[in-house]
């Protein structure tokens, strides 16, 4: 839904920093409810539900024009004192797949890699880093290792993505619309640690692929191959 904020809510919005140029992502309680819902606020006065219809509503506003959309909007009935900015994990636009779509595309549910405990690699499992760039900066081509603080997917999830075929930009929720061109193969040693999880929705993409985060990178000589994506 599209709403217009009351004056008191607008004053509250203006007292908070923006999330991005011209908008804020906030949480607030609707009058009489216990739980907070999430909203996107434009120009401190136009409020949209942050759900899987967000892009549809944004398009409506774009077609009508901001002023007309505002004049036709319903009043936003939320508790001003409950308004707060949303944390980083929900800053990015989401696209949500239906359960059928998730099953068809073999997408997973769960939290992101960094929310999971560290585990040691088993020395046999292969991980794949996908990139639009042949000179991917997270691969140390000299020492043949993955650099600290880098993400990959698993070889199995990559194979699934290629086999289906699924869209890697949507599966791994990448912000870059340049096509994924390269797959870099890494086999960490048993002393290398990783955190394993599910890619969260972001940048208008659904996520749901498997991701692995290597806080300390991988050992020397663990990077062993580079191939064009899908080959």
């Amino acid at each position: 839904m599209i709403y217009k904020a009351f004056y008191s809510d607008t004053q509250k919005f203006l007292s908070l920093p923006e999330t991005g140029m011209g908008y804020q992502v906030i949480e607030a309680k609707r009058s009489g409810e216990i739980y907070k819902n999430k909203y996107v606020v434009y120009n401190g006065e136009l409020v949209i539900d942050l759900d899987n219809r967000l892009l549809e509503f944004k398009e409506k506003i774009k077609i009508k024009g901001f002023s007309k959309a505002l004049s036709e909007a319903e009043n936003w009935l939320c508790e001003t004192e409950s308004i707060s900015l949303v944390s980083k994990s929900l800053l990015l636009e989401k696209r949500v797949l239906s359960e059928t779509e998730k099953k068809d595309k073999k997408r997973h549910s769960g939290s992101g890699a960094r929310e999971h405990p560290k585990e040691s690699a088993n020395g046999r499992e292969i991980f794949v880093r996908l990139s639009a760039y042949e000179n991917d900066r997270r691969i140390d081509f000299v020492k043949k290792r993955l650099v600290e603080g880098s993400y990959t997917t698993t070889y199995l999830d990559y194979l699934e993505c290629v086999r289906l075929p699924d869209d890697p930009i949507d599966r791994y929720a990448l912000p870059n619309d340049d096509p994924v061109e390269w797959a870099f193969y890494v086999r960490p040693e048993t002393k290398d640690q990783l955190q394993r999880g599910v890619v969260q929705p972001a940048f208008g993409h659904a996520g749901g692929g498997i991701e692995a985060f290597f806080e300390n990178g991988t050992s020397v000589d663990t990077y062993f191959d580079k191939k064009p994506y899908g080959k």
Binding site: L91, D136, V147, A173, N176, E211
Partner: protein
């Protein structure tokens, strides 16, 4: 619009953790005081600016990982 960062900015970001596979969310402050938060940098190299806004990387005073 994609803006290629300066080598020292690239080197800085290449030594910081990613936000996701192949990208980092960063906060930028320009020398004139303007700030841009939560911007995407690809491959530690290319800053993505929406609305085709152009930024001269020489005018970037600080660039750091985005904080919530």
């Amino acid at each position: 619009m994609k803006i290629k960062l300066l080598q020292e900015q690239i080197d800085l970001l290449a030594n910081l953790p990613e936000t996701g596979m192949g990208y980092q969310l960063v906060d930028i402050k320009l020398k004139d005081g303007q700030t841009f938060n939560g911007k995407v940098v690809l491959n530690s190299t290319h800053l993505q600016m929406e609305d085709e806004r152009e930024i001269d990387p020489n005018e970037i005073e600080t660039i750091k990982l985005h904080k919530e």
